[in-house]
């Protein structure tokens, strides 16, 4: 067969394109990182930490929705499982260092994620979403009844403690940089996963599941692993959030929270790693602004309206649209 093009050249040009793309991304990431490093000088650190916790939650969620194609409507369960576990352990065992409490919370959410995955993974589409919702509701009622959660009152006065037994996290700046480090760790992990050989299989499953099966992939195993990782990271976000605010409450387990993370992710855009980060930042900010003003009672309808508009006007989310714009104009 005639081929006027040298395959070697094509491979080279491909690698070059990838490199240019990578460089652009690296610059953007470095700028964002610099902003995050200096941010507490101008913005109240606790507010920043709230954003980072939700950003991590949304990034974890997007590993599933954006990169595996699974819509979970039960991610609140993992956020809460992480938060309650960490809160309980740090409140009960004063000898425990903070990071041990957080690791335990993350593990609890991971185990819960494995249970969810085993039950739900065979279902497709909306059925999958409904089963995760049902399971998360079970978990919610579990938390309402459980003696250690404080029921409707929630769990208060969780001590922030000392990181590695040395660094006092009562200091908001120390706490902030710790949360930032955790967020970056989670973000980079997801970035690595998405770009790995395993991530390539996830992509294939998302784009054409029967084809992936016909190429010899046991797709359910891949999906379970993605679900478990996503749940674990969501739990990590919940654990850290509990340490920051020194409380865990039923709000985190409520289905509203599962909806909110969907909203954040779709607003920012599912196709990119950064999308959910922006989505979370946007939603947390908006909620704050609204709650300060006279529209405090209208937070949910306003968010809903913005959500509908975004989905209609920008199908790939805020970051997705910006990315398209950049590609078109800076090519």
């Amino acid at each position: 067969m005639g081929n006027p093009v040298d395959p070697g050249d094509i491979q080279k040009s491909m690698i070059k394109d990838e490199k240019a793309d990578k460089r652009r991304k690296n610059i953007l990431n470095l700028v964002l990182l610099a902003l995050l490093l200096v941010a507490p000088a101008v913005i109240y650190p606790v507010f920043l930490m709230k954003i980072l916790c939700f950003a991590l939650f949304a990034v974890a969620f997007n590993l599933l929705l954006g990169f595996t194609g699974l819509l979970s409507f039960g991610h609140a369960a993992f956020l809460a499982a992480g938060g309650y576990t960490t809160g309980y352990l740090l409140s009960t065992y004063s000898g425990l260092t903070t990071e041990m409490g957080i690791i335990a919370g993350t593990l609890a959410a991971t185990v819960l994620g494995a249970l969810f995955a085993v039950v739900a993974i065979r279902r497709q589409g909306i059925y999958f979403a409904m089963i995760t919702l049902a399971l998360a509701q079970l978990v919610y009622f579990g938390f309402v009844q459980a003696p250690f959660t404080g029921g409707e009152d929630g769990m208060h006065g969780v001590p922030r403690g000392h990181l590695f037994g040395i660094i006092d996290l009562e200091n908001n700046l120390a706490m902030y940089y710790f949360v930032l480090a955790v967020f970056l760790g989670g973000y980079l992990l997801v970035q690595r996963v998405v770009g790995s050989p395993y991530g390539q299989v996830l992509k294939a499953i998302k784009q054409n599941e029967p084809r992936a099966v016909s190429l010899g992939y046991n797709v359910n195993q891949y999906k379970v692993l993605a679900f478990v990782m996503s749940a674990g990271l969501a739990g990590l976000a919940g654990s850290v959030k509990t340490v920051v605010f020194q409380l865990a409450s039923l709000n985190d387990a409520h289905w509203h929270m599962s909806g909110e993370v969907i909203l954040m992710t779709l607003l920012g855009g599912t196709g990119t790693l950064l999308g959910p980060v922006f989505g979370a930042t946007f939603v947390v900010n908006l909620e704050y602004q609204l709650s300060q003003g006279p529209l405090g009672d209208w937070v949910d309808p306003i968010l809903g309206g913005i959500f509908v508009l975004t989905v209609i006007a920008f199908q790939s989310g805020i970051v997705g649209e910006v990315q398209k714009f950049v590609k078109k104009n800076l090519g």
């Binding site: 395959p7 491979q11 016909s214 992939y217």
Partner: protein, 257 residues
């Protein structure tokens, strides 16, 4: 060992809520053959493929591959054993490049598919083989093109290359020329003939001129059951075959062509 037959079905039946889509099919596909499965629309051809690859569970019956019962295996395991299918509706990964499409198939045998901690660059060692496969189907210059942007005929060529990347012993092709113009059809015929070297092909095909040029043996399916089987001459002269084809406008027209 039944060396002669790569694939055999015994009493294969598939019922959908009382409707029998595949009715007691005993198929034998000889090693090295290009074997055609033809029949009017709704005859059950795709359903047979779905049963062979376990995308559907047979209601009754057995499937033997190289003499071994594979009825209990799952889809992915069957693909790994060497029975790889294509789909009636072109099956590609639309938002990957052509090269990445093929690489996913090659990766299937690499044993690194659960390594979520590794860099994706570790897959680049497969690129060379991908380029060979792309070259074989004339897609070299599209290696970097996102698959959605490829023309239909090229998508099907890519699909074939992806299937071949699995080095299947038995290739199942579901209407590889469907919806193609004459030129693309000729290309596919050429590709299938090349792909069939050293392996066995079972293909569903409506275009009878393709069947007559490519296929060594033909099984005719009608209403889920095998109507007849034989060489092209024998089958095309069978009055019963002509009769069932009268029922379907699409195929009648193609048969006349």
């Amino acid at each position: 060992m039944s060396d002669q037959f790569v694939l055999e079905t015994r009493g294969l039946v598939k019922e959908f809520k009382g409707f029998v889509a595949v009715d007691d099919v005993n198929l034998k596909v000889q090693r090295g053959h290009i074997h055609a499965l033809i029949g009017p629309n709704g005859a059950g051809k795709t359903t047979v493929f779905n049963l062979l690859t376990k995308f559907l569970q047979p209601t009754h019956g057995k499937i033997l591959f190289n003499g071994k019962d594979i009825t209990a295996l799952k889809s992915a395991a069957i693909a790994r054993k060497g029975v790889v299918r294509s789909f009636q509706i072109s099956a590609v990964f639309p938002h990957m490049t052509a090269l990445e499409n093929i690489r996913v198939a090659l990766q299937s045998f690499q044993g690194n598919s659960f390594q979520f901690w590794k860099s994706g660059a570790s897959l680049n060692k497969l690129n060379e083989r991908c380029m060979e496969l792309l070259d074989a189907v004339g897609l070299t210059e599209f290696a970097n093109t996102t698959t959605v942007e490829l023309a239909y005929g090229r998508k099907r060529a890519l699909e074939l290359a992806t299937t071949l990347a699995m080095e299947p012993e038995l290739l199942l092709l579901d209407e590889p020329t469907q919806g193609m113009g004459r030129e693309d059809v000729d290309r596919v015929v050429h590709l299938v003939r090349k792909a069939a070297e050293g392996r066995t092909v079972l293909m569903v095909e409506h275009n009878l001129s393709v069947v007559s040029t490519l296929c060594d043996r033909i099984t005719v399916l009608a209403q889920g059951a095998v109507l007849t089987e034989g060489g092209y001459q024998e089958v095309s002269e069978d009055p019963r075959v002509r009769e069932v084809y009268m029922g379907s406008a699409k195929t009648t027209q193609e048969a006349v062509e």
